[in-house]
Amino acid sequence: MKKLLALLTALIMLLSAGAVMAEEKEPVTIRFYNYALSETAKADWWKNTIAAFEAANPWVTVESVTVDYNSMIQTFTNDLGSGLSVDLILGEVSWIPALVEGEFIQQPKDVIDPDFYAGYYDYVLDQMYYKDGVYAVPHYYTNSVVFINKDLVEAAGMDAAAFPDTLDGLKAWIESLDAFYKDSGKVSTIFGLTTAEVPATGSNINAMFTAFGGQLLTDDGKLADLKAEPNATAMAEMLDFYKYLIGNGYTQENLKLKDYRAAFGAGNVVAYVDSSWGYAQIGEVDPKAAEFTVTSFLPTTMGTYGKGESLVESHCFLIGDGLSDGQKEAISLFIQHCTSTENLEGYLNNIGLAFVAHEGLSGCRISPILEGAAKGVSHVRKQTQIGPMVSVQKQLATMVLDYTVNGASMEDAVAGYIAQAEYYIDQ
């Protein structure tokens, strides 16, 4: 009897061990290209998040590849060419066309758990549509945010919370502040708009054009007719607004966003337009900047046709092609892990201020700094993505400078822009 019991026990143990063995997953490795790891504040968050994920999923190894932001596309292009795999990328919306054309990313709907995928806000996912589908999922996003130095506005006897909601109101607001600070030497910029000829500026100007009621590209990826309405009026009103700001010294020409961030942090800028995560650099200049920083969305009446709509900018996950089933499952779990309230809330409040893009994060606390801008958070318009997006947008800065600084007529500046944009689009 004892022998029989011992035999049965051994048999049960053998079977249960077999069941455990069957549940164990084959180890997989994800090569994750992440420029945020080269930025001190973000690097710690990513390292901790990845470590926590690996601890919870011991069958997955996340092999981080740290690449400088400006070298990202070149690095994984070279790596792919030399036979290395690129499984997951932390990237930007503007990279999508190039990576799709390069045939090395796939649609996330084929990888991510369908229930989780369904939770992304449509108006954010729409921004990641290229050719035949959505090619990225957002980690978080931003619209155009007006950063306002509350102390400077209040010192001029005005209410920082009462940001104007019309273009005329905005001009009157700017002029009142200028009259107060004109000879004080304390303030360099009343209302900053970037015009340096760099990609981030191009995207910012495109957002301003959208706010004025214009649409730069047609749905099929061609340059929209900028001489037809409402684009012609939107373009003219936008260019005149830039000329008004630069000509009167309310903003400086040829400054980058990072210049405004530094000057805002130093307390020399009353207000300027940026992405929400621009606050990271403001905070580097003055760690107590939160005490004087408030935000707003753009006026809802901008000229004849403008409703103050924004374009979406997002830091997003792009998923490599040719993954094994195990890697797909691991990436799906990893994206869900990174996009959970538990993990993302601290990041969105302390490291990179932004808005959530998934309904699962609806309970996630947003930074009090973004309270004002949050009211216009879904007031966005879809932007068609094209391969040469960076150059087509960058040329907008050239056009603005040509008209505002170099004395070109509006017709010549716009005609010059159309010629350059078509050169890039038709290549």
């Binding site: 596309i73 060419g81 390069g102 360099s188 340096a196 040829n254 400054l255 600084v405 170099n406």
Partner: protein
């Protein structure tokens, strides 16, 4: 005919060898072959390296310039699709190539000319061994030692509007009338802003090269000319500069090449702007290849860039050789 400087044994050996070679031509050709093989062995590493790392990439780039070569060709190792001169004609029709050649030419001409003039002046001053010359020689090397990207960032701060040093000086000397002078913001001034930064970076090296050449000019000839009544400029034009010809040729050629391939200063200071006023061939090539991911078009610009640079150096050498002939 044996020379009186050779020992008797050497003369005997040579004449024996020479007579044996005459008597045995096979022996002579065998030695020649051995010498030739030895020369080839010495040359082989240089030839292999130059072929692998210079010649093949250049040929590859030239071939690529005649193809439609995009990101997918690179990542999937697909050959580019031959498109004849489409990359060149597209760039030409858009006016980008002509504009970039012109701006590159202007930049190289002014930077090289001014670098040479300033360096020569400084070298002449330092050659008189003024007090503190050794200290000056050490200090003036600092700009040359600083990486070009850092130089660019440094000058970006100097030119910054409205907080830069240049803006401050313009404001000061204009009696407060000019309040928003942005050197890099205007189409007419941006290139000069970069030329100035380039001068700051390149003058020290050329000064030291010219100074080294100057110090090799025989003092007795200069002294003789002085005794004969030659004034300073006569000695400079007819003795000093002709003696320094090889140093000048090398340093100016290096400066031409250095400025033709100048990219970091443009990238950090203007990125080709404003309104394309500083888009040189280097900037255009980078934008086409790495911003627009059109490698074929980028290679077309690079090919033109290479040809223009070769032509510029050749013209300089030609002019220099002709002057050499005239002086001789």
């Amino acid at each position: 005919m044996p020379t009186p400087f050779l020992s008797k044994e050497t003369v005997i050996m040579r004449s024996a060898s020479s007579s044996s070679s005459r008597r045995f031509p096979v022996l002579r050709s065998s030695r020649k072959r051995q010498d030739l093989l030895f020369c080839l062995c010495l040359l082989l590493p240089a030839v292999v390296l130059c072929t692998a790392f210079i010649l093949i990439p250049i040929i590859d780039s030239v071939v690529m310039s005649f193809t439609n070569y995009k990101l997918v060709n690179l990542t999937k190792n697909r050959p580019g699709e031959w498109n004849d001169f489409a990359n060149y004609t597209r760039l030409w029709k858009a006016g980008k190539l002509q504009s970039a050649i012109l701006i590159t030419g202007q930049f190289v001409f002014w930077t090289v000319s001014l670098t040479f003039l300033v360096s020569m002046t400084l070298a002449l001053i330092l050659n008189t061994d003024p007090p503190g010359a050794r200290f000056l020689r050490s200090v003036m090397m600092i700009p040359w030692v600083i990486p070009t990207v850092i130089t660019g960032l440094l000058w970006a701060w100097i030119y910054a509007n409205p907080y830069g040093l240049v803006q401050y000086l313009v404001h000061l000397f204009s009696g407060g009338r000019i309040t928003d002078f942005g050197m890099l913001n205007g189409k007419g001034t941006a290139l000069w802003g970069i030329i100035l930064a380039g001068l700051w970076k390149q003058v020290p090296l050329m000064t030291l090269l010219l100074l080294a050449g100057m110090q090799n000019v025989p003092e007795d000839i200069m002294e003789a000319a002085r005794i004969d009544g030659a004034d300073y400029f006569t000695r400079l034009i007819h003795i000093l500069i002709p003696y320094m010809r090889s140093v000048i040729a090398v340093s100016v050629s290096m400066c031409i090449i250095e400025n033709f391939k100048q990219y970091p200063l443009f990238a950090t200071l203007t990125n080709g702007g404003p309104v394309g006023a500083t888009t040189t061939l280097a900037v255009l090539s980078y934008d086409e290849a790495f911003v627009n991911n059109n490698y074929g078009s980028g290679a077309a610009v690079t090919t033109v860039w290479l040809l223009v640079m070769i032509a510029a150096v050749a013209v300089f050498r030609l002019i220099f050789q002709r002057n050499k002939g005239e002086t001789a």
